[in-house]
Structure formats: structure tokens, C-alpha cells
């Protein structure tokens, strides 16, 4: 059964009184729960949060469904999001994600068998001057070539968290 850490529970308590309205705590608390659950949210977590926060489950559910950063299914230890919007598309973003999924033998939106990687195509991440780019967990990697991206990711899998 899902349960937040003590630190997480404390965070939820603080967020509930941080803003003018308790409801504003939903977004940051979903973010935290996702982090503690290894990268995604499921129905059980939403019920748990509703109970813990004393906020209707439907209000948490609608936020969960609306925003793209709440993952609806498991992601890899390194969740790789490749921008395929216009400036990146013009500079090889789509070829990049195609190359990566082929190289790591996985489909878009699925996790590699070793649990290390998942890949998705995403919309503009505000790094158009460094196109093509990818976001790996919280970090941006810009001015990529397929080879460079593979190199970065393989290094990460080896335990070098920044991939360089």
C-alpha cells in the first residue's frame, strides 16, 4: 500500500497552509507523491492523497489528468523527453527520438527491460536555441546529435548522474 515518507507527510501539511486556498496544495503534493512513487501516479495514490489532504478525490483526479508532467504509467529510472516542436523538428528532434528508441530497443512511452529508460516526444520545453534537445528527469541537454545523446544516456546508466 502506498504511503508517503514522514518527510513527505510533513511537506503535505506545510503545503496545505502555504497558500491562500488549501486546494492550491494539490499540484505540489501530486508532484511529491509521484517522486516518492518512482515516477508515476495511480488511482491508489489519488485516494490516499484525498484522504490525507481532506480534499475531494475528484478535485485531485482532474488535476492529475490535466497536466502532462503527472505520469499515468511507470517511467524509466531516466525518463527522457525529446522535444519535437517546430524549432527542434527543424533541427532533427524527431530523428533523435526515433534513433534513441531504436538504439535502446523500446517503443515510445514504454520502459526498457532493465528499467533504465523511457522515451517520449514532448512539446516545446523552452530550449529552442539549443535544438535539438532532451530533458532527462529534471535536466536539460541541448545541441544534441543522436550519437551525443546516446553517449550521455549510456553514461547515466553507468551511474554518472549527469551523463558527462
Amino acid at each position: 500500500m502506498f504511503k508517503l515518507s514522514n518527510k513527505g507527510t510533513e511537506f503535505v501539511k506545510n503545503e496545505l497552509s502555504r497558500y491562500e486556498s488549501r486546494r492550491s496544495a494539490i499540484l505540489p503534493c501530486l508532484t511529491l507523491a509521484q517522486e516518492e512513487n518512482g515516477g508515476y501516479i495511480n488511482a491508489e495514490i489519488i485516494s490516499y492523497l484525498a484522504h490525507l489532504m481532506d480534499i475531494p478525490e475528484s478535485q485531485i483526479q482532474e488535476v492529475f489528468m490535466f497536466y502532462t508532467m503527472y505520469n499515468k504509467k511507470p517511467v524509466g529510472k531516466f525518463h527522457v523527453q525529446v522535444c519535437c516542436n517546430i524549432s527542434c523538428a527543424m533541427n532533427g528532434g524527431r530523428e533523435l527520438v526515433q534513433h534513441l528508441t531504436k538504439e535502446f530497443r523500446v517503443n515510445d512511452g514504454e520502459v526498457t527491460s532493465d528499467g533504465n529508460f523511457s522515451f517520449s516526444r514532448v512539446e516545446c520545453l523552452g530550449a529552442c536555441g539549443g535544438a535539438p534537445m532532451m530533458q532527462v528527469n529534471e535536466e536539460y541537454h541541448e545541441n544534441l546529435t543522436p550519437e551525443k545523446a546516446v553517449h550521455v544516456l549510456k553514461n547515466m546508466a553507468k551511474g554518472n548522474s549527469h551523463g558527462s
Binding site: 502555504r18 497558500y19 491562500e20 486556498s21 488549501r22 486546494r23 492550491s24 496544495a25 494539490i26 499540484l27 505540489p28 501530486l30 508532484t31 478535485q59 482532474e62 488535476v63 489528468m65 490535466f66 497536466y67 502532462t68 508532467m69 503527472y70 519535437c84 516542436n85 517546430i86 524549432s87 523538428a89 527543424m90 533541427n91 532533427g92 524527431r94 530523428e95 526515433q98 512539446e123 516545446c124 520545453l125 523552452g126 530550449a127 529552442c128 536555441g129 539549443g130 535544438a131 530533458q135 529534471e138 535536466e139 536539460y140
Partner: protein, 429 residues
């Protein structure tokens, strides 16, 4: 040529820290402002002609003037939900000069009499957020936020709120919904946020660059601010240059600067052997300019409005002759369909239809009447919805088809792109 007013010290080490910022005159403008009357600050900002740098270009001082005098608490909300495709200037500003933003926000909050402000940062901006968070703590530690700021008697609290991935939250009422902990769906206007915004209270929403620019207005005065730019578009602005240029980047130039100079001088022109085909001058929601128009355009609100497009967020996307316009429109229509919040029928259905129609042509199954249908659907999406996303999807669709119709017709007739060797040709969507 670049004129670095806002970005003057962006390359200096330590400018993101309070010590480095103060060493170069930081927070002197706040001291000056706190000795002024709030109404005088609003009038100075009005006189400067500063216009919103996030996209709509509305005069900032005029917006502030809409606040009612009803004794209700009013909120200041900084829009750092940068998401307009092509735009990446606010990210730079937050990473390099978080105190410039905070100082501009405290001055603005003092001017409008606000006890509380939020910086709404898009969720993906983990790093910029960490820099702003650190700067915010420094500001509190130095008595620049909280109770009785610098002995002035003015109290103000500032906090950060993270988005969680939704383009629509860059729309000011969508952002307010999101800050309230809801789906980021825009609200009907009127009432405008200045009357009824966050939690139904008067709220001013300004872009990062706008709020940072307030420090310049206070430092130099309205008259000096107006020395750059044009009469109706005063000041300098950051432009995010991307696409097919040799040196993409953020460049600060006076408004009224020639678009083609930004591309050729700042951007280093196109790659050898490539020809300019089109430019999207103000983020993906702006109507596209063809080569001839791009060569004539100046980067100010009026010129681009006259050319039936807009300055928008200042995101200049340069497109060379190796790109297929049908392919690029498909990229954009996928985006707007994905980001439509689903409230209004013309947008929810229209964006889906536009994506389907363009994809139909891209797959070689298109008919000639589909090209007309794109135009009809797009026309019917304009001005009929709660927010501007519907129009923002329709503008590229209408302008791509109008100005590059030959490429759409070629694709329908031949079942393939007119442009040889495009990235699309290698793709299997």
C-alpha cells in the same frame, strides 16, 4: 546592433547572487521607488509606454490602472510559464538575473499596493526555479521582502508556484485557475483579472521580462526609457532566435529593429547554400511571413500588426528552403490539438480537425478541397472562444495555406512533398 539594457550584466559572474547583483547597482531602484508615491510609479510606467512582453503587448501601466479601489487585497502574479514554441528568454532571465525580476516585482507590488505575489514557473524549468528560489531566500534574508521592507513600512511576501505541464497555463486566467489548484482552464473575460482574478480578488498578471523592465523605468525614468525603440513601441526587447540560423540565441535589440538584421547580424545568417523561405516573427501562434515580407518587417508591435501578424513573445523562428511547409504545419497543429484545454467546442474540435486534415495531406491521402477546408475550419475558430488558443491555432493554419498554397497543392497532387530530402521524407509518422 544589440543594445543591452536589461541584459547588460547577464554575462558577469555572480550576477545571480544578491552580492553580485548589489555590487552592480541592484536594489538601488527599489530604494528609489520606495521613496516615491505609488501613483507616481504607475504614472511613470504609463509614461514609459512599456508594453507587456509576454505576447499580448498590452500597456503595463494601463493594466495596473484597472485595479479597483475597493479595499480588497490585490495579488501580483508573475507569468514565468514560458511555453510559446520558439520562446526561451524568460528562462535566461531567471537563470542569469533572478534578483532583477524580484526587484521589479517588489517595485510593481509597491506601486499597485499588493501584499502578496507569486512567480508561476512552468514545471519543466527545474533549474531556473532553483535559481529563483535561492534568490528569493537571499531577498528575505536581506530585508527586501517580508515586513517593513527597507524601513519603508511596506510589507510584501513573494512565493513560487510550479506548473505541471500545460501550455494553456501561460494564458493569464488559465494560470490563475492553476494557481488555485485546478485544471488550467481559462476563465471568461470580463471580469478581467484586475477586477476578479486569483480567488476572485483583483490580480495583475505580468510577464517576467515586463516586470524586470520596470527596474529600468525607475532607474532611468520614462523619458530615457523611450529613447530606445519607436514612439508606439518604446524600449528594448529580448528576442529568442531559433530555427535555421547559424547563431541562435536570445538577443536584446531596440523595438523597431529590422527583422532581417536580427537574422543576418545577430543570428549570423543562414547556413551556406540555404535560402530564406519564411519567418514566424512572434512565437508559433503568430502568422507566418514569407521571404519578401520578412525582408521588410521591423520588430515592433505596429509594423507586425500592419503585416497581419504579431510581435507576440518575441520568438523569431527562421525557416530555410529545405523545409516542407506541410510538414511544419503538421507539427504545429499537433501541438495545438494536444494543448487545447477542451472547454470550447470550436477549439477542441477545430484543432483536432486541423491536425487530421494536415496529416491527411502529409500521408498522401489529401484532396484539393481539404486545403480549402483547412482555411474554412480555421476561420471558424477565430474570435469564438473563451481564450486565444483557438485563434493561435488558426493563425498558422490560415497563413501557411495562404502563403505556401503551392506546396500544399503539390503534396495533394503528387502524394509527396515538393521539397526534396526534407526530414519528413525520412520519417514514418
Amino acid at each position: 546592433m544589440e543594445v543591452k539594457h536589461l541584459t547588460e550584466h547577464y554575462d558577469k559572474d555572480g550576477y545571480a547572487t544578491i552580492k553580485g547583483y548589489q555590487k552592480l547597482g541592484g536594489y538601488e531602484n527599489l530604494k528609489k521607488a520606495l521613496k516615491m508615491k505609488p501613483l507616481d510609479i504607475i504614472n511613470e510606467v504609463k509614461a514609459s509606454g512599456l508594453r507587456g512582453r509576454g505576447g499580448a503587448g498590452f500597456p503595463t501601466g494601463v493594466k495596473w490602472g484597472f485595479l479597483p479601489n475597493n479595499g480588497e487585497p490585490r495579488y501580483l502574479l508573475c507569468n514565468a510559464d514560458e511555453g510559446e514554441p520558439g520562446t526561451y528568454k524568460d528562462r535566461l532571465m531567471m537563470e542569469r538575473a533572478p534578483h532583477q525580476l524580484i526587484e521589479g516585482m517588489i517595485i510593481s507590488a509597491f506601486a499597485i499596493g499588493s501584499p502578496k505575489s507569486y512567480i508561476y514557473i512552468r514545471g519543466e524549468y527545474f533549474y531556473p526555479k532553483s535559481i529563483v528560489e535561492k534568490a528569493l531566500r537571499e531577498a528575505y534574508d536581506n530585508g527586501l521582502l517580508g515586513k517593513n521592507i527597507l524601513g519603508s513600512g511596506f510589507n510584501h511576501d513573494m512565493d513560487i508556484y510550479s506548473g505541471a505541464g500545460a501550455y494553456i497555463c501561460g494564458e493569464e486566467t488559465g494560470m490563475i485557475s492553476s494557481l488555485e489548484g485546478k485544471k488550467g482552464q481559462p476563465k471568461l473575460k470580463p471580469p478581467f483579472p484586475a477586477i476578479q482574478g486569483y480567488l476572485g480578488k483583483p490580480t495583475i498578471v505580468n510577464n517576467v521580462e515586463t516586470l524586470a523592465a520596470v527596474t529600468l523605468v525607475i532607474r532611468d525614468g520614462a523619458a530615457a526609457f523611450r529613447k530606445q525603440g519607436t514612439e508606439k513601441s518604446p524600449g528594448t526587447k529580448l528576442f529568442s532566435l531559433s530555427g535555421n540560423v547559424v547563431k541562435p540565441g536570445n538577443y536584446e535589440v531596440p523595438l523597431g529593429y529590422k527583422l532581417i538584421d536580427l537574422i543576418n547580424i545577430e543570428g549570423g545568417g543562414l547556413k551556406p547554400g540555404r535560402k530564406l523561405k519564411a519567418v514566424i516573427p512572434g512565437g508559433s501562434s503568430a502568422k507566418i511571413l514569407n521571404k519578401e515580407e520578412s525582408e521588410k518587417a521591423t520588430l515592433d508591435y505596429e509594423c507586425l500588426a500592419q503585416m497581419d501578424t504579431m510581435l507576440g513573445s518575441g520568438a523569431v523562428i527562421v525557416i530555410d528552403d529545405t523545409n516542407c511547409m506541410v510538414d511544419l504545419l503538421g507539427v504545429l497543429m499537433h501541438f495545438y490539438h494536444h494543448e487545447s484545454c477542451g472547454q470550447c467546442t470550436p477549439c477542441r474540435e477545430g484543432t483536432g480537425w486541423l491536425e487530421k486534415l494536415v496529416n491527411g495531406i502529409k500521408s498522401g491521402q489529401g484532396k484539393l478541397q481539404d486545403i480549402d477546408l483547412i482555411e474554412t475550419v480555421a476561420r471558424n475558430m477565430c474570435g469564438r472562444t473563451i481564450c486565444a488558443l483557438s485563434d493561435a491555432a488558426a493563425f498558422p493554419a490560415m497563413s501557411f495555406v495562404l502563403k505556401f498554397r503551392d506546396e500544399f497543392e503539390f503534396f495533394v497532387r503528387e502524394g509527396r512533398s515538393k521539397i526534396k530530402g526534407t526530414s519528413y521524407a525520412k520519417m514514418h509518422h
